[in-house]
Symmetry: C2
Subunit: 222 residues, 2 copies
DNA sequence: GTGTTCAGTTAACGGTGTTAAGACGAGGAG
DNA sequence: CTCCTCGTCTTAACACCGTTAACTGAACAC
């Protein structure tokens, strides 16, 4: 009998765990990623999640983490990469859907912002200002986001070719402009703090719609 | 003689310092802020600047910092607030200058982005995703940025009244849209990492001009 | 059974922000 | 001048952090 019941080593969020079998080191890795994701979502910031806390949640000692990840940054990169792939899938879906180019970019923009707001911890880990240092460069090229950005560029190019968008703009720059707008919107809506008490800031939905509408209107051919 | 020469306690960037006189605790405070600013600019990230390093640069022990600041966050808030006031002054200047509403917003946008890029450490400390937790709420209301944002709202309102800008948009939302765009641009240009190797991203100047042009074009009346 | 090797452990290091308690010295009161 | 107060700053220490070195113990091969 080559495969016994091994499910009791996985999905044991707390309490004592049994040592994995010879070739089952990968199981702990999955448990670690799962625990790290839960803690990151709960805290909303990877700096607030300690390696020791992740280890404790899995029911393992802290140095065991380093059997599966080079350091904390790599751990959280892979932790976020999973949800980032869902993120990317939603973007690709919206960008490839039916409708005019502006409609599709509008839907993708909504998906982008709402996803960023719903996954604050992961979003900031991957897109935050300090991700520069924390993300292993060798993974950047295979980032799902690179694919989504390529699709955005292609969609804008198509919009230009079909006469729906202005043809007097550099396509790459236009794509970055769109990305800047949605990225900035996520950032601002995540950090608006007590600003609502000072100004009467509209709801998130209104802000999102307005921002997307303005930038896409600025891109559309007159 | 009520005022002796006290200049030997200030501006002593390194080496031994003399204990301050009875009422001169404020002098050390200024020295601390100055050292913290220098280190922040050098490192580009406040998390990379330790309290002990600031103390050492001033020539004082680490706990002395806490005689003048409640904690590290407050220290760097006040460290950045100074340069932030220059930032704000440049924005106000651009927004209040001559020319059409779009021209003034364009100039203010350029000033915003270039300032953010030139003062990465301070910009991210004040506007970064985690500023939520690190900035004392009681200071937010008096933030210089609040003033600049009010001016932006007023300028957009004026543009609407004068018929230069679209009148079918919520003014507050439009202001946030503009702010999101420039804020996102700063963020992306600061973190673009090895992206240039993958895509052929245009120069910062081209990206800035394109982004501002698109968003303002989207705001302008047809 | 015996040895190997993987999967984990305990102990420890250097560093962090921060606090508690005391030392030192300037300046006012007598 | 002497004494005392009190603001200024120091030394020592705490709890915690990410991370590494050295060790243990169980599962498998033979």
């Amino acid at each position: 009998m080559t495969s016994k019941n091994r499910s009791d080593t996985v999905a044991r969020p707390t309490g004592e765990r049994r040592r994995a079998r010879r070739g089952d080191g990968e199981l702990l890795r999955e448990e670690i990623l799962h625990a790290a994701e839960q803690l990151l979502v709960a805290e909303g910031d990877k700096d607030a999640v300690t390696v020791r806390a992740v280890a404790k949640a899995v029911g393992v000692s802290a140095p065991s983490i380093y059997l599966h990840f080079a350091d904390k940054d790599e751990l959280f990169y892979f932790t976020c990469r999973r949800v980032f792939e869902q993120f990317n899938a939603r973007l690709v879906e919206a960008l490839a859907a039916e409708g005019t180019v502006v409609d599709r970019m509008m839907r993708a923009g909504r998906a982008y912002v709402s996803f960023g707001l719903e996954h604050q911890g992961q979003y900031e880990t991957l897109f935050g200002s300090k991700s520069q240092d924390t993300i292993p460069v060798e993974h950047v090229a295979s980032d799902p986001g690179v694919h989504a950005f390529s699709l955005l560029v292609a969609l804008i190019q198509a919009g230009v070719d079909e006469g729906e968008l202005r043809d007097d703009l550099d396509v790459q720059s236009a794509a970055i402009a769109v990305w800047s707008a949605v990225h900035g919107t996520v950032n601002i809506l995540l950090t608006k703090r007590g600003m609502e008490d000072i100004f009467n800031i509209p709801s998130n939905e209104v802000v999102i719609e307005a921002t997307l509408e303005v930038i896409l209107n600025g891109l559309r051919k007159k």
